[in-house]
């Protein structure tokens, strides 16, 4: 048997392993730091160049003088319209589908095909969703280019996100709780309503907030289905067209001549501000959820 001093003596192999260990650790750390750079640069540029144009007035007045001056109120309001209507459609639909898939669906080929379809729906490019929206909602259902058509397109696009996040929240509720309820003679629905849903609702909401942040930034799906270049009036209902922040940014940045440089940066700052706010909310919600865990 070796003496302990011999056992811990360093061989060449040990040294080489340690050098590699150090090398790879540093390499991975560098890659991670690289990730942060674009975020910081984007935010920094936007704040430096855009904060000059930010004001309460900017948020709540209409664009004037061929969109080279004034505020962004119609676009901001339009985005709120589009996102709200999209949520009203996708949340009930998505949550219902997720409840079916998580709580009722047997594990067979039929369910597997549905799951596959959801994954594929998530992978469809947004421009394809846009064209589908034109064909289905604008033309076939005859909604015209309107908030309704645009929101329906957005809703279908974000449906997989809602379904997947809801299903995960439901599955995070231990199966033993369901078994206990069923054994007492509860139906599946009674079990879902009294035990599963109340304990999954925070997780579901987190997913919904994330969906809001995604929907807010989408441009392609609303371009042909309901969002307008410029409108001299505010939308009065879901059958009107509307302006939207994301499209407005595209327009003032590339389509309109003689726009002062700070204007598009201001629009972008508002847009990213909304998204960051939503993401922060969702993270806060998740932390709240962890602290209130009941088992």
């Amino acid at each position: 048997m070796k003496h302990s001093t011999q056992m811990f003596a360093e061989s060449d192999l040990n040294n080489r392993n340690r050098r590699y260990e150090q090398l790879f650790k540093t390499l991975f750390l560098l890659m991670t730091l690289l990730l942060i750079i674009p975020v910081l640069v984007i935010l920094g540029t936007l704040i430096v160049k855009g904060s000059g144009s930010l004001s309460i007035e900017f948020l709540f007045t209409e664009p004037t003088n061929g969109m080279t001056e004034g505020g962004i109120f119609p676009a901001l309001l339009g985005t709120v319209w589009l996102v709200s209507v999209a949520l009203l459609i996708s949340v009930p639909l998505g949550v219902a589908a997720a409840i079916y898939l998580s709580e009722y669906a047997p594990d067979n080929w039929y369910t597997r095909i549905i799951n596959l379809a959801i994954i594929n729906l998530a992978g469809v490019p947004s421009i394809v969703h846009a064209l589908f929206g034109v064909g289905a909602f604008v033309i076939f259902f005859g909604f015209g280019t309107s908030i309704l058509a645009a929101s329906l397109t957005l809703a279908i696009m974000t449906l997989p996100v809602v379904i997947v996040s809801t299903r995960e929240s439901l599955q995070a509720v231990p199966h033993a709780f369901r078994e206990a309820c069923w054994n007492m003679g509860a139906t599946r629905w009674q079990t879902i309503r009294k035990v599963v849903l109340p304990n999954a609702v925070s997780g579901i909401l987190t997913g919904v907030i994330l969906e809001v942040s995604r929907t807010t930034g989408e441009t392609a799906p609303i371009m042909f289905t309901g969002a307008a270049f410029f409108l001299p009036y505010l939308p009065q209902g879901i059958f009107d067209q509307t302006m939207a922040l994301s499209l407005h940014l595209f327009v003032v940045a590339t389509q309109v001549p003689n726009v002062p440089e700070s204007l598009p940066y201001g629009v972008a700052l508002v847009l990213i501000g909304i998204v960051l706010l939503m993401n922060t909310l969702s993270i806060a919600f998740r932390m709240h959820l962890r602290s209130k865990k009941k088992w």
């Binding site: 033993a176 078994e179 206990a180 054994n183 007492m184 003679g185 509860a186 139906t187």
Partner: protein
């Protein structure tokens, strides 16, 4: 007509085979559980004990791939032909190996089943909750904090909460599936005392891997081994050595398992 003295057995099982997919978990079981007895099922892990309980309250319909053959009668009624399985399950209280306190308040845990039966009157619910918790020997420990979460009680308390919940069903029969696995010996003895009292009012099927627990509590015992019911007999006689199969005496004397 069935006279009062010739009541059908609580459960009558004939030629029962249980399968998960095509794999049999238990086969060829025939036995009867009589009213107001504590019926023991002993055997090592993977013997099919839990699967047996699951088909008795028809939880096979809630379990992916589970099916059974053979006849099971509950109070003389073939459970395969029952359409209202929810009513069947509400007549049977089940206590699991690991305590399952629902993430509801202690009160709501115990009021869950009465509410399922449509009892919503506060006074009546209060009464059932107090009575069930008292009978499960938990009332004194929790009466001042009925609003706190049931899932945050200690293991032993949660197991008694589960028993209180089962009793709140006002069951005909109680299934206990290795209830003492996660419970300290003192609590185990308290629950055993409760069971002896409950026997006056209901039938109990006690699945246990503690041979001595079966001996203390049960009148008759079935020995399950690797998906087979080796034998059913009077508990005392079995422990006295009156067995039909040498594997039974080997198991209860601790030579394996």
């Amino acid at each position: 007509m069935v006279s009062q003295t010739e009541k059908p057995p609580k459960f009558s099982v004939k030629d029962l085979t249980i399968r998960y997919g095509t794999t049999p978990a238990l086969s060829g079981v025939s036995l009867e559980v009589e009213e107001n007895e504590i019926f023991g099922i002993i055997g090592p892990a993977n013997a099919g004990k839990t699967s047996f309980l699951k088909v008795l309250n028809r939880m096979d319909t809630m379990t992916e791939g589970m099916s059974y053959e053979g006849e099971i009668e509950f109070n003389g009624i073939n459970t395969r032909k029952l359409r209202n399985l929810y009513a069947l399950r509400s007549r049977i209280g089940v206590v699991f190996p690991l305590p399952v306190g629902l993430p509801l308040s202690i009160y709501d845990n115990v009021a869950f089943s009465p509410r399922l039966r449509g009892i919503n009157e506060k006074k009546r619910l209060d009464q059932i909750v107090e009575q069930s918790l008292t009978r499960a020997a938990l009332w004194d420990e929790v009466k001042d904090r009925l609003d706190s979460l049931g899932s945050l009680l200690s293991g032993g308390q949660q197991q008694r909460l589960t028993i209180a919940r089962a009793l709140s069903q006002d069951p005909d029969i109680l299934f206990l599936d290795e209830f003492s696995i996660a419970v300290d010996p003192v609590t185990t003895m308290r629950i055993e005392d409760v069971l002896v009292e409950l026997k006056q009012e209901m039938t109990i099927i006690l699945v246990t891997n503690l041979v001595q627990q079966a001996r203390r509590l049960t009148r008759r015992t079935a020995f399950f081994l690797s998906g087979e019911c080796v034998e059913v007999g009077e508990t005392e006689a079995m422990f006295a050595g009156d067995v039909k199969d040498s594997r039974t005496s080997d198991y209860i004397e601790g030579r394996f398992g």
